[in-house]
């Protein structure tokens, strides 16, 4: 039987550790992905994810379900990311692993993609990381929450504690900066065009 987040939270609050571990299992990957994209460091992102769940667990008695569990945990994670950035006092620099793991990429992509395509994809991914690192923290977070976590403008506004219009502006400005950087780095991929709206 699959429990909802709310049910698992209720069971966790009554002392059921397994229920909370199920919540962790359900949310560890998105929280880690969020932390990684915001701070750009693999190990630190893992630490942030761990710390997020620990804080949530300890704060569980005070969580009355006024927000969704996911929103609550995203907020904790974002606060920790912000603390991390403040502590490091630097713009996050995306970490590009030294070892080229083509075999892993190949296993993920399927048989139609050639090694050249895999390398190109990897290079492009690095360009995106670089471009993301250029964005101010608020814009980067807004883009990440929208692009990779599929949140609504309202949810992002709630998490960032700003008006909805600010979220839209941050997204537009963020996307514009990313577009410019991607065009510079890879002109063929980002050729301006005048049609093709979906």
């Amino acid at each position: 039987m699959t429990w909802t987040d709310e049910e698992l939270v209720a069971r966790s609050r009554s002392g059921d550790m397994d229920s909370f571990n199920q919540l962790i299992l359900r949310w560890e990957r998105p929280i880690y992905a969020l932390a990684y994209r915001v701070i750009g460091q693999e190990e630190d992102a893992r630490d942030v994810a761990q710390e997020t769940f620990l804080r949530a667990f300890r704060a569980l008695p005070g969580f009355k379900g006024q927000a969704k569990f996911s929103s609550w945990i995203y907020r904790i994670a974002l606060n920790l990311c912000r603390d991390w950035i403040r502590r490091k006092k630097r713009t996050p620099v995306s970490q590009v692993p030294e070892d080229v793991d083509l075999s892993e990429l190949a296993a993920e992509q399927g048989p139609v993609e050639s090694v050249e395509e895999l390398v190109a994809r990897r290079e492009l991914s690095e360009v995106v990381e670089e471009a993301m690192a250029l964005l101010p923290e608020e814009q980067r977070t807004a883009v990440i929450l929208k692009e990779y976590h599929g949140m609504t403008f309202q949810e992002i506004a709630d998490l960032q504690g700003c008006p909805l219009s600010t979220v839209k502006t941050r997204l537009y400005q963020g996307l514009s900066v990313l577009r410019k950087h991607l065009r510079e780095k890879n002109p063929s991929l980002m050729e301006p065009r005048r049609s093709g709206v979906n």
């Binding site: 550790m17 909370f20 571990n21 962790i24 560890e28 990957r29 880690y32 992905a33 994209r37 693999e42 190990e43 992102a45 893992r46 630490d47 994810a49 761990q50 710390e51 769940f53 620990l54 667990f57 300890r58 692993p97 083509l102 075999s103 892993e104 190949a106 296993a107 993920e108 048989p111 050639s114 090694v115 492009l124 991914s125 995106v128 990381e129 993301m132 883009v143 929208k146 692009e147 609504t152 403008f153 219009s165 839209k168 502006t169 997204l171 537009y172 996307l175 990313l178 577009r179 991607l182 890879n186 991929l189 980002m190 301006p192 065009r193 005048r194 049609s195 093709g196 709206v197 979906n198």
Partner: protein, 270 residues
């Protein structure tokens, strides 16, 4: 004031034209149905906005390529994590307890072994310095002891002993002052001084003995603590190494399998 894009006359200008909020709403299809329909109608009629939407859409396509590394997370919590943690966990993957170690006040964090060793050395050196200082010359030691009666407990001579000594000295002085002139005053004074010096020396040597004993005992206790901590650390490190070896072995196995898969695929494609 909103900037009108090139090629737009005020006559065909829509409130949505060039509006970042409207463009982003349309791009992500996030807004009320009526609003999205109105923006859509404008985009159909406006080449500039259509091109902008298309270009931003291309950017989004490229962004979708970026994914975080596929790290094995395996986070879990135990009941003990609900309680405040006093020492870091020795797990190879940074544990929940480790993650909050930074939040603990410094006096609640465990003291490293090297710091304990330094403290032990300093205590030992201080004890030795006090003992050596007192042993240099009996006369100077006597002066120090009588000049600092308030630090008696630390030095080793008790307050009551010093008080008794002072009383005895006062008594001697009074007796000498009130007594009739002695036949051999210098000889009497010399005898008293010798007795006094002997008494001082005896007290000092007693105190030094006690001090040395206490220092040795304290040092032995610290050394024992350090040894226990060292053994614990070694056990923890060995445990960690074992876990790391297990993880590394599994990863290597996985890598080999993946490489084999890749080779097979490449062979099939050829």
């Amino acid at each position: 004031m909103k900037k009108v894009p090139e090629g737009h006359s005020p006559l065909n200008r829509s409130p949505y034209c060039g509006d970042p909020g409207a463009l982003v709403s349309y791009l992500y299809n996030d807004g009320s149905a009526a609003e999205l329909a109105a923006i859509g109608a404008h985009v159909q009629a406006c080449d500039t906005c259509a091109a902008e939407i298309a270009s931003l859409g291309d950017t989004r396509d490229v962004l979708s390529i970026w994914s975080p590394p596929q790290t094995e997370l395996g986070l879990t919590l135990s009941a003990s994590d609900a309680l405040p943690v006093s020492s870091p966990s020795p797990a190879p993957v940074p544990s929940m307890a480790m993650a909050v170690a930074d939040d603990l006040p410094w006096w609640r964090q465990s003291t490293p072994v090297w710091m304990q060793a330094v403290a032990a050395t300093m205590v030992f050196a201080a004890g030795m310095a006090i003992g050596t200082g007192r042993g240099v010359s009996p006369s100077s030691s006597g002066t120090t002891a009588s000049a600092t009666p308030t630090s008696a407990p630390a030095v080793g001579v008790s307050r009551s002993e010093l008080a008794a000594l002072e009383e005895r000295l006062r008594g001697e002085l009074t007796r000498l002052a009130t007594a009739s002139a002695p036949a051999h005053p210098v000889a009497v004074r010399n005898t008293d001084d010798e007795a006094m010096t002997k008494r001082f020396r005896a007290l000092l040597s007693e105190s030094e003995e006690r001090q040395r004993g206490e220092s040795a005992l304290r040092t032995a206790q610290l050394l024992r603590d350090i040894e226990i901590q060292r053994k614990l650390d070694i056990a923890t490190i060995q445990n960690d190494i074992g876990k790391i070896q297990a993880v590394t072995g599994a990863e290597l196995r996985q890598q080999r399998e993946l490489q084999n898969q890749l080779i097979n695929r490449v062979g099939l494609q050829k």
